[in-house]
C-alpha cells in the first residue's frame, strides 16, 4: 500500500508544478461531464413530466373511457353508468386562452375519483370543501402560477371574458394545466351537460353489467399507457437530437482530457523512469495512475455534474418552449432529478477519463525501465498516431456512407452523422499537415520557412483542439443551415397558408350562424370561408380532418407539395382528399391511392389527390371538402372561419365584430398577429438548439486555450534559438498569433463542407425520420461567413493570453533554455 501511496503522491506533485495542465484536464473533464449530464438531465426531466401528465388519469389500475368516435360524452350517459354500478368519474378537458397563451383546463369530480389518481391529491385532503363550494378553486402548479404572473387567490379572466375560480398553487400539480371542478369547467368551456372522459378503476364491484350493455358502442377504453406512449413517441426524436448533441459535446470534452493527460504523461516520463528505477513495479505505477485518474475524474466529474445541473436549469425554459412549440407538451419548470442521474453522470465522467487516458496508461505499463526520457517523444510517436488516426477516419467516413446508403431510421441517420463528423475530425491533422507542407515549399525566406516548419511541428499538440473546433464549427454550420432553411421555408409556407385576412372562432354553433348572417351584409367582405374539424385515428395515429370550401382563395394559394391534375375538382366533388406530408410519409400513402377514413357512421373511401406541407404539426392532417365533412361527421361543430376582406378593412372589421358580438366570439385574430404568433413559436422551438450550439463553440475555445497554454510552457525550447538569432519577442508573438489564426482558418474552411453535409443529413434524413417532413436545402453564405468570423474570434481569444505571456518572457528565461538540457 505504501509504494502505491507514495507513487500517487509523486504523480500528483506534477500537477502542482503544472497548474495550467491541471486546469486543462479538470476543465475538459468537467465541461464534458456538464454538457452530457445537462442534456441527460433535460431528457430525464422532460420524460418525467410526460409521465406525470399521463398519470393524471393513467395511474396503475385506472383506465379512461372516451367517446369511441371522438368528441364529448353526454353527462346523462355518465349518470346512467353510475346508476348501473360503473364506478366512473367524469372529467372534462378543454383549452382556454389567457392573454393569448393556451392552457389546458381540466374539470374533475373529486368525490368520485378513484383513490390513487393524481387528482385525488390535487384537491388535497383539507381543501375539498374549498374546491367544491362556489366559487371553487383553480388548482395549478407553482411554476404555472409564475407563468401566469398572478398572485395566489386571484380570479383570472380568460380570453372571451369568463372568470376562473380563485387560484390555488399546489406543488406536484401537473404543469400548464388548470384544474377546476367539473361544474366550473362545463360553464367555462361552454359544455354544460358534457364530459370528455370517464375515469374508472378496473374493478367496479360485483354484478355490474358489461359496458356495452349500458353504453352500447359509444365509449371505448383508452389503455392507461396510450397517452404516455403517444407523447413519448412524438418527442422521442427530439430527445434523440438532444442526446446526440450531448454526446458530441462530451466527445469534444474528452479530446481536451486526452490532450491534457497526454501532455502530462510526456512531461512525467522522467519521473516515471525514476520511479521505476527505484523499484516501483509497472503494475503499481499503472495502479497509481489509475487511482490518480479516478480521483481527478471524481473531482472534475462532481464539478461537472454541478455545472450540468446549472446548465439544465438554465436551458429548461428553452426546452420547455421547444416542446410546447413542437408538440404542445408541457414540461414542469422546476428541475427534479433522481439519484440515478448523479450516479450515471459520475460514472460517465470516470469512464470517459479512463477512455481518454487508456493509451497513456497502456504505454506506461509497457515502458522499458531505462528508456531515455526524451522530451517530446510523443510528437514523434504522433507521426504513427497520425497515420492510425487517418485510417480510422477513413473507416468513419466509410461507415457514414454505408449508414446513409443502406441505413433506415433515426438511429442509422445519427450513426451516419457520427461517422461523418468523427471521420472528418480524425482526418483533419493529415489535411492540415499537408497544407503546412505546401506552405513550406512555396516559401523561401528563412523566417517564413521556419514558421511553416515550426507550425508542422506544433500541429500534433494542437490537432486535438483543432479537431474539437472542427466538430463545433461544422455542427454550427449544419444546424445553422438547417434552422435558417427551415425558417425560410416556414415563412414562405406561412405566407401561402395564412392567406385570409381575418380568422375567428364563434363561442357556439348558433352564435356562428348569427355572425355569419351579419357578415353577409358587410360590404368589405370578399369571402366567408368556414372551417370545421373532426379528430380520428388512422392506424393509431391522431389525425385531424379539416373541412374547407374549395374556394378560389385556396385553389390559388393553398401550398401543395404534389397533386394530381384537376385535384381541386375531385376535392370539390368529395371524391378526393388532401393529406399532409407527415401523414403521407408515416402511413406510406401515395398520391392517387385510395384512403379508408373511419367516420362517425361508416367508412369513407376517398382518393388522395394532393399532398401538402404541414410543418410543425405533430398530428396528421386530412383536408376535405367542408360539405363532405359535414355529411360524414354531422355533429361536428362549425364555429371557425377565415375571412377574405379588403386588406385595409381588416382591423376595422375586427373592431366592429368585437363591438357587435362581444363574448359570442371566442377568438379573433388578423393575419399579421397569427403570423407573429407562429414565428414566435418557431423561434422558441429552436432556442435550445441555438444555446447548445454556442456552448459547443465555447467548449472548443476552452480546448484550444488549454492546448495553447500547456504548449506555451514547452515552446521556449523552440523559440529561444530563433530569438537568439535576432527575432524580437514581439515578432515571435505575432507569428504565434498568426499561426493559430491560420490553423483555425484552415479548420474553418474544412468545417464548411462538412457542416453543409451535416445540414443535408439533417434536412433530408433526420427531419424526415423525426418529424415527417422534408425541407428544401438552402445555402446561406452570410451565415457561413459569420461562423468563420466567429471561429477566428474564438481562436484569437484563446491565443491572446499565451501570446502575452510570450511577449513578457524575460530574456533570462529564454537564456535558461541554453543553460538547461531542455
Amino acid at each position: 500500500m505504501r509504494p502505491f501511496f507514495w507513487t500517487l503522491v509523486a504523480l500528483l506533485s506534477h500537477w502542482r508544478r503544472h497548474p495550467a495542465n491541471f486546469g486543462a484536464l479538470l476543465v475538459g473533464l468537467a465541461v464534458a461531464t456538464a454538457l452530457w449530464s445537462g442534456v441527460q438531465a433535460l431528457n430525464q426531466h422532460a420524460r418525467a413530466s410526460y409521465d406525470r401528465a399521463a398519470s393524471l388519469f393513467g395511474t396503475a389500475g385506472v383506465q379512461s373511457l372516451v367517446a369511441a368516435r371522438g368528441g364529448l360524452i353526454s353527462q346523462d350517459l355518465f349518470v346512467k353508468l353510475r346508476l348501473a354500478g360503473w364506478k366512473v368519474s367524469p372529467a372534462l378537458e378543454g383549452t382556454i386562452r389567457i392573454r393569448g397563451a393556451p392552457f389546458q383546463l381540466i374539470g374533475i369530480e373529486p368525490l368520485s375519483l378513484p383513490r390513487g389518481t393524481e387528482f385525488a391529491g390535487v384537491t388535497g385532503e383539507n381543501a375539498l370543501g374549498d374546491f367544491l363550494e362556489p366559487p371553487g378553486r383553480t388548482i395549478i402548479a407553482p411554476e404555472t402560477l409564475r407563468e401566469l404572473a398572478a398572485p395566489e387567490g386571484a380570479a383570472i379572466v380568460i380570453d372571451g371574458g369568463k372568470t376562473l375560480p380563485p387560484i390555488k398553487a399546489l406543488s406536484g400539480a401537473p404543469p400548464g394545466i388548470l384544474v377546476v371542478d367539473i361544474g366550473v369547467a362545463q360553464a367555462v368551456l361552454d359544455r354544460t351537460g358534457h364530459v370528455s372522459r370517464l375515469i374508472v378503476k378496473e374493478s367496479s364491484g360485483d354484478g355490474v353489467p358489461p359496458l356495452a350493455g349500458v353504453a352500447g358502442d359509444v365509449l371505448r377504453v383508452l389503455p392507461p399507457r396510450e397517452e404516455a406512449s403517444d407523447i413519448r413517441r412524438l418527442t422521442d426524436s427530439f430527445h434523440l437530437n438532444l442526446t446526440a448533441f450531448g454526446l458530441l459535446a462530451f466527445l469534444v470534452g474528452l479530446f481536451i482530457v486526452h490532450a491534457a493527460f497526454g501532455l502530462a504523461f510526456e512531461q512525467r516520463l522522467a519521473m516515471v523512469r525514476t520511479l521505476r528505477s527505484v523499484g516501483v513495479s509497472a503494475r503499481a505505477l499503472v495502479a497509481a495512475m489509475f487511482g490518480e485518474l479516478a480521483l481527478l475524474a471524481l473531482i472534475a466529474g462532481g464539478a461537472g455534474m454541478g455545472l450540468g445541473y446549472g446548465l439544465a436549469a438554465a436551458l429548461l425554459p428553452d426546452m420547455a418552449a421547444s416542446l410546447d412549440g413542437l408538440y404542445g407538451v408541457r414540461v414542469a419548470g422546476q428541475l427534479t432529478l433522481d439519484p440515478a442521474w448523479w450516479i450515471s453522470g459520475l460514472g460517465i465522467a470516470v469512464i470517459g477519463a479512463l477512455a481518454a487516458a487508456a493509451g497513456e496508461l497502456f504505454k506506461a505499463f509497457h515502458l522499458p525501465v531505462l528508456k531515455a526520457a526524451q522530451p517530446f517523444a510523443w510528437r514523434r510517436a504522433e507521426q504513427i498516431f497520425l497515420r492510425r488516426r487517418s485510417i480510422l477516419g477513413c473507416f468513419g467516413l466509410a461507415a457514414a456512407l454505408i449508414a446513409f446508403l443502406y441505413g433506415n431510421g433515426l438511429y442509422a441517420a445519427f450513426g451516419g452523422i457520427a461517422g461523418l463528423l468523427l471521420g472528418a475530425a480524425l482526418l483533419l491533422p493529415l489535411l492540415l499537415a499537408g497544407a503546412l507542407r505546401l506552405g513550406e515549399k512555396t516559401s523561401s525566406a528563412p523566417l517564413a520557412q521556419w514558421f511553416w516548419a515550426d507550425s508542422q511541428q506544433q500541429l500534433p499538440g494542437l490537432s486535438l483542439a483543432l479537431m474539437a473546433l472542427l466538430l463545433a464549427l461544422s455542427t454550427n454550420v449544419g444546424v445553422g443551415a438547417m434552422v435558417e432553411g427551415f425558417r425560410k421555408t416556414f415563412t414562405q409556407w406561412l405566407d401561402e397558408r395564412l392567406i385570409a385576412e381575418v380568422y375567428f372562432e364563434a363561442a357556439g354553433d348558433s352564435e356562428a350562424r348569427q355572425i355569419e348572417s351579419w357578415l353577409d351584409q358587410r360590404p368589405e367582405i370578399i369571402a366567408i370561408l368556414p372551417v370545421s374539424r373532426a379528430t380520428i385515428q388512422l392506424e393509431h395515429w391522431p389525425v385531424d380532418v379539416v373541412g374547407m370550401k374549395p374556394h378560389e382563395t385556396y385553389r390559388q394559394h393553398f401550398p401543395m407539395l404534389s397533386q394530381v391534375a384537376d385535384a381541386w375538382d375531385d376535392f370539390e366533388r368529395g371524391d378526393g382528399v388532401f393529406v399532409s406530408e407527415q401523414l403521407a410519409r408515416r402511413l406510406d400513402l401515395a398520391l392517387g391511392s385510395m384512403l379508408e377514413i373511419p367516420t362517425a357512421g361508416d367508412r369513407w373511401r376517398a382518393k388522395i389527390v394532393g399532398v401538402f406541407p404541414d410543418y410543425g404539426n405533430p398530428k396528421g392532417q386530412l383536408r376535405v371538402d367542408l360539405a363532405s365533412l359535414m355529411r360524414h361527421w354531422p355533429d361536428t361543430p362549425r364555429r371557425a372561419y377565415s375571412l377574405r376582406v379588403a386588406p385595409k378593412a381588416a382591423s376595422n372589421l375586427i373592431d366592429a365584430m368585437q363591438t357587435e358580438f362581444g363574448q359570442q366570439i371566442a377568438r379573433i385574430s388578423d393575419q399579421a398577429a397569427l403570423k407573429r404568433l407562429s414565428m414566435t413559436i418557431f423561434e422558441r422551438t429552436f432556442a435550445v438548439t441555438a444555446a447548445l450550439n454556442i456552448l459547443m463553440l465555447v467548449v472548443s475555445a476552452i480546448a484550444l486555450f488549454a492546448n495553447l497554454l500547456t504548449l506555451s510552457n514547452v515552446r521556449l525550447a523552440q523559440l529561444a534559438p530563433v530569438w537568439a538569432v535576432g527575432v524580437a519577442r514581439g515578432r515571435l508573438a505575432q507569428l504565434e498569433f498568426l499561426r493559430v489564426l491560420l490553423l483555425t482558418a484552415a479548420t474553418s474552411l474544412l468545417a464548411l463542407p462538412l457542416g453543409l453535409a451535416l445540414a443535408w443529413c439533417l434536412v433530408a434524413v433526420v427531419n424526415v425520420q423525426a418529424f415527417g417532413w422534408r425541407l428544401p436545402f438552402h445555402l446561406f453564405p452570410a451565415q457561413l461567413a459569420q461562423i468563420i468570423a466567429l471561429a477566428l474570434l474564438t481562436a484569437a481569444v484563446a491565443v491572446i493570453w499565451p501570446v502575452i505571456r510570450l511577449v513578457r518572457t524575460t530574456p533570462a528565461d529564454l537564456l535558461k533554455v541554453f543553460a538547461n538540457e531542455r
Binding site: K87, L128, E133, G207
Partner: protein, 358 residues
C-alpha cells in the same frame, strides 16, 4: 342514535369542509350554531310520508338500515345500508354540480368469518344520488332502498334494498305493518346536557328476506331489519368524541334502542327508547341505562370494547352482548365499527352495534 351520525359525518366525512368559510366556526367550534341552517325545535310534529324524504334546510341527515339475517342452515348474517346527506352551505339549493348536497353511502355484509363493505360518494344535483318521499326512494349509484315498483305510495310497507361492492352484493325485500317509532319527545331527541338535539324516528319492525351474494355464492336469507331516520343542523359538543349505539330485537318481539355519547370531560350522555311488541314506545331515562364494556378487541392498532353488559333497570334488562364477528371494522374513508351482535342474560335476541371514536 342521532349522535352517532352527526359526529360521524362532521368529524369524518366533511372534516375538510369544516375549515372552509361556510364552517367558519372551525373544528374547535363543533358546538357552534349552524348559522343559516334550520334549527331543531321541540314540538315540531313529524309528518309522514313527508319526513321520509330529505330536509335540505338542515345541514345533515341519514337513512340507515341494519338487518340481522339467517340462512336456511341457521347461520347468522348482518347487513348494513346507509345513506348520508350533508349540505356544505346553507341557503336555497343550487342547481347542477354547484348544489350544496354531498351524499355518502356505506354498505356491508357480515358473517362469522367475513366482514365485506363498500363506500361511495356522490354530489347531488345531477341525478347520481337522492331521496324522494313519495314514493319513497333513496339511491346512490346502483344502491337503492326504495318502495317496490308493485307497491308505490304505500309508505315503507313494501320495500326493497340493494347494494354491491367488491366481492359482495345483496338484494332483499322488506315488509312492515306498523308505523314508525318516534324517539325522545315525539321525535325530538336530545343529544347533550346543553340541549343539542335532532329529529329522530325508526322503523324497527321490518321483516326482510332475499339473497346475499358473497364471493359469487348466493345465500337465501331472512330476518329482521331496523331503519333509522334522523336529521339535524346542530353538531355535538366539542368534547363528545365518540359514541356506542345499540338496537336490540328481543325474542318476545320487544325492542330497545340505547346510545351513549362519550364525553372527555363529563359523564357519558345516555338515552334510549323502549319499544313494545305492538309498536308503542317510551323514552328511557338517562339513569335507567348502564353500558359497561366486558372485554376488549384489538383491530388495526385500536382497542375497543368487544362484549358489553347492557342494563335497563326499569325493564329488568341485564344482558351481555357478543359480536357475530369481532372484526366488523368499516375501514372506509372514515372508519368505525358496525356489526351484528347477539345477547343473552335476562333476555335473548339479536341486534346491531355501532362504536365510533376509538
Amino acid at each position: 342514535m342521532s349522535a352517532r351520525r352527526a359526529l360521524f359525518i362532521l368529524a369524518a366525512f366533511l372534516a375538510p369542509v369544516i375549515e372552509t368559510s361556510a364552517f367558519a366556526d372551525g373544528f374547535a367550534g363543533l358546538g357552534g350554531e349552524a348559522k343559516g341552517f334550520a334549527e331543531v325545535v321541540e314540538g315540531t310534529p313529524i309528518v309522514f310520508p313527508r319526513d321520509f324524504g330529505p330536509h335540505p334546510a338542515f345541514r345533515t341527515e341519514w337513512w340507515y338500515l341494519t338487518a340481522n339475517l339467517e340462512d336456511a342452515a341457521g347461520a347468522s348474517y348482518g347487513l348494513q345500508w346507509t345513506l348520508f346527506r350533508q349540505a356544505s352551505a346553507p341557503g336555497d339549493e343550487r342547481q347542477g354540480w354547484a348544489i350544496q348536497n354531498i351524499w355518502m353511502a356505506h354498505a356491508a355484509v357480515t358473517n362469522a368469518k367475513e366482514h365485506l363493505f363498500a363506500e361511495t360518494f356522490a354530489r347531488g344535483g345531477v341525478g347520481l344520488a337522492g331521496v324522494t318521499a313519495e314514493p319513497f326512494r333513496a339511491w346512490i349509484d346502483n344502491w337503492r332502498f326504495s318502495s317496490r315498483d308493485d307497491a308505490p305510495g304505500a309508505g315503507l310497507a313494501r320495500m326493497m334494498v340493494e347494494a354491491a361492492g367488491p366481492d359482495f352484493r345483496y338484494k332483499l325485500n322488506l315488509a312492515v305493518d306498523r308505523p314508525p317509532v318516534l324517539h325522545g319527545k315525539n321525535g325530538f331527541s336530545v343529544k347533550s346536557d346543553d340541549g343539542r338535539a335532532s329529529y329522530y324516528f325508526s322503523q324497527p319492525f321490518f321483516k326482510i328476506d332475499g339473497v346475499l351474494v358473497i364471493r359469487g355464492q348466493e345465500i337465501k336469507v331472512s330476518g329482521l331489519a331496523w331503519m333509522d331516520r334522523e336529521w339535524s343542523s346542530q353538531p355535538l359538543t366539542a368534547t363528545q368524541k365518540g359514541w356506542d349505539w345499540f338496537s336490540l330485537h328481543f325474542t318476545n318481539g320487544e325492542k330497545v334502542m340505547v346510545f351513549q355519547l362519550r364525553d372527555e370531560t363529563a359523564r357519558a350522555f345516555r338515552a334510549g327508547t323502549w319499544i313494545h311488541a305492538d309498536g308503542t314506545s317510551e323514552a328511557l331515562d338517562r339513569d335507567d341505562i348502564a353500558l359497561t364494556p366486558l372485554s376488549r378487541i384489538h383491530l388495526n392498532g385500536r382497542t375497543l370494547p368487544g362484549q358489553w353488559k347492557l342494563t335497563v333497570k326499569s325493564r329488568g334488562v341485564e344482558v351481555e352482548t357478543t359480536p357475530l364477528n369481532a372484526d366488523s371494522w368499516m375501514a372506509t374513508r372514515f372508519s368505525y365499527w358496525e356489526g351484528p351482535i347477539s345477547f343473552r342474560g335476562s333476555h335473548e335476541g339479536k341486534g346491531y352495534l355501532e362504536m365510533t371514536g376509538y
